[in-house]
Amino acid sequence: MRQRKKSFGKTLSGIYDLLIYGFLYLPIAIVVLYSFNTSKRNIVFEGFTFQWYFKLFQNDALLQAYGNTLIVGLSSTVIATVIGTLASYGMSKYKFRGKNVIDSLLYIPVVIPEIVLGISLLAIFNIAQIPMGLISLIIAHATFCIPFVVFTVNARFAGFDRSVEEAAMDLGAGRIKTFFTVTLPIVMPGVIAGAFLSFTLSIDDIIISFFTTGPGSNTFPLKVMELTKTGVTPDVYALSTIVLAVTIGIVILSQRDKKPKSK
């Protein structure tokens, strides 16, 4: 009796989890489905076609927006990862005055609403006369990505045994050589996780990009936002479907690489 009750509870929680995933994936399923729709308007599914996957490559504005998203995502990730990793190294190794201030400043981009960060960057770019475009987007994105890199790398440094660095230096390696051959490889998982998180946050960002972009440098989310007013065309859905397929592919491949190691 007890056993039955337990398995009943398990089934129930299984159904619950499936419903949650259903909620999370339903709109994505619709996007994939409607990318094969013959109708141009995403309202009724009329018939099956591949045409949007070809038409997509004639939509220069859309492709350019996606290109911008990738440029901004990669550049801001590189900047945030370098600055964040260096900072985490210095802040976990040394005690210095003003460390608390840096620590508190780091949490500001995390807790203030994106819209406030967005408008404050817009205002400062305006008085500093930084032209609005890809450069301002990259600076803005790096700003909200840096803290996340610091946090993930900090987590790696928390369990880091400093004596291996000293050992390397005692054996005659210079400070820079020690950093690249000893320290960096050990904290690398944290660096990769931070970079990955930065890139994810950057390519999905809407609000900060909305305020810090300029004419002619639309990102993909902003392009979709603009199209939403008139109606999103299926070629946008086709592009999203391709991106989804690529990311799922990468996830599966990275999981495969992990398996032999754990065994």
């Binding site: 999370l24 210095g90 780091l106 989310p221 859905y237």
Partner: protein, 289 residues
């Protein structure tokens, strides 16, 4: 001499590692926010900012039209948070109690939607909920309704969109704190005669409170500012504090007033974070997203 050597030894690496972030944070986090604070006391000639100290923006904040928007926005943020906790908690709990492989799979499945842009996913909801959308079509075909339901462009739709977008931000901190829970304590409570409800209320919930609180912060704060959700799902009918700020910095071109609205949000966040800290919350938990 030796002291000098030691000094140089520490100073150069310290400067090379810490100064880039220091400069970056001062120029691009501290300075912009201070400038917005300053801006909130300026006025406008309808075209650009006029630098003349005034409190008129702060007086304007109490305009009854805005008061209504704050309260709508606040109610929506509270509801978004409540629904996210209610639906997210059992889910995070199942995830934390799943075996290693299943846990990793559940986590992965939670994260994949992140990589499809939220703008695209909200458009997916639009297709589902629209007047001639999927849901109405299905319900009509089943003869459950005679006329299409008005779902899209209502407050309910905005709430749904908000919960949808912010759900993972609630689940992740919840999962982190439930995962740390010593499940032996729950068994002990059971053995001592407490039923499931009692165990949950007196053991599980208090121990996972840090997760509930950090999830609340990560959901509540953004839901005040995500103007694009109310634009898409609410059709611009229901305005949030985020829409007010957006409007002042774009269409209305009254930056000082927009800055004053932003200060209002900042004050609210300072209050929430102080409560969080007073309740024993560690600000560091918010960074482990």
């Amino acid at each position: 001499m030796k002291k000098n050597h030691k000094f140089r030894n520490k100073t150069i690496p310290l400067l090379t590692t810490v100064s880039p972030i220091t400069i970056w944070l001062i120029l691009l986090v501290a300075a912009p926010l201070i400038y917005v604070f300053y801006l909130s006391f300026q006025s406008t000639d309808g075209y650009s900012v006029v630098y003349k100290l005034t409190l008129s923006n702060y007086k304007e904040l109490f305009n009854p039209t805005y008061l209504e928007i704050y309260s709508n926005s606040f109610v929506l943020a509270v509801l978004t948070t409540v629904f996210s906790v209610l639906f997210g908690y059992p889910f995070a709990y199942h995830m934390a109690r799943a075996s290693g492989k299943k846990k990793a799979l559940m986590m992965m499945l939670l994260m994949i939607p992140f990589w499809t842009n939220s703008m695209i996913r909200l458009n997916g909801w639009k297709t589902i909920l629209g007047k001639t959308g999927l849901l109405n079509t299905v319900l009509e075909k089943l003869h459950l309704i005679n006329a299409p339901l008005e779902i899209l462009y209502t407050r309910g739709a905005v709430l749904l969109g908000m919960v949808y977008i912010l759900f993972p931000y609630m689940v992740l901190p919840l999962f982190a704190s439930i995962d740390k829970l010593d499940f032996g304590l729950l068994e002990a409570s059971n053995d001592l005669g407490a039923n499931k409800v009692k165990t949950f209320l007196h053991v599980t919930m208090p121990l996972t409170f840090p997760g509930i609180f950090s999830g609340t912060i990560l959901v509540f704060i953004p839901s005040l500012g995500y103007f694009f959700v109310s634009d898409i799902m609410g059709g611009g009918k229901s305005q949030l504090i985020g829409n007010l700020i957006e409007n002042q910095f774009k269409a209305a071109n009254n930056w000082p007033l927009g800055a004053a609205f932003s200060m209002l949000l900042i004050i609210l966040i300072i209050i929430i974070v102080s409560i969080y800290k007073k309740c024993g919350g560690d600000i560091k938990d918010l960074g482990v997203m």
